[in-house]
Symmetry: C2
Subunit: 140 residues, 2 copies
């Protein structure tokens, strides 16, 4: 069993965030001591890490809550949950596509700067000249 602070340290979240997640029902109700202090179990910690993972995937709080609600409603909701998980996966793929595009453009831009830095003569381009030069390179 771990205190609020320990749980926070183990997950890299703050105690405030943990309370917030609990209030938003992303976590099961956390056990308490006699004096109402929270006691996080190993299972709780695992659960928190799952939520964290979903948040890293930019799954909104609301969706996570829905998913967990289904989870607590037992086996009859499996096919719904499978559908949600499939939607997460589709969304993840589209996010990754976006990042790939951004990464490609950004890497091209970096290569362009490397090249410019080799030629001090080009360092007085205006931003529009530079932009046009960059664009025309990309199109070739």
């Amino acid at each position: 069993m771990y205190s609020a602070k320990e749980a926070a340290e183990m997950t890299g979240l703050t105690t405030a965030t943990l309370r917030y997640y609990e209030k938003e029902r992303l976590l099961p109700p956390i056990g308490r001591t006699e004096q109402r202090y929270r006691q996080y179990s190993d299972t709780d910690i695992e659960w928190i890490k799952m939520v964290q993972c979903l948040r890293m995937a930019n799954v909104p709080i609301r969706s996570i809550r829905e998913y967990i609600l289904l989870l607590t409603q037992g086996g009859r909701t499996i096919s719904q949950r499978r559908l949600m998980v499939q939607e997460y996966i589709d969304d993840l793929h589209s996010q990754m596509d976006n990042l790939q595009n951004a990464l490609a453009l950004t890497k091209k831009k970096l290569a362009f700067y490397e090249e410019l830095l080799q030629k001090p003569a080009t360092q007085d381009l205006t931003y529009l000249e530079e932009w046009n030069l960059f664009k025309s390179k990309g199109e070739s």
Copy 2:
């Protein structure tokens, strides 16, 4: 030259967002007609698409503004810009790592559901039983 509405249609943004980006100086000042209506040029459209791409990479408005400010200050800022672009790339890689992790977990979860659906006997698991089953699978 394109009207506000046309520019919005071409980029998939709203006219309000385009005005917002301009106000935040993510775009160069857009040309106007006699009656102060905006006229977006092809270069403006390209520029908007670049901003859009950076936003897709979750680059904050503030960073984009900084970058563009450097851009307008000419060639002496090239090395600073190269550094910023490198930071974008590093951040993109870490975002993609997060997505990869989330994707792996999510796919595992999906496979788990597929399997469960094959065995109707397991459909009455409580959520904790299911969770433990899932966890123990992952560890093997």
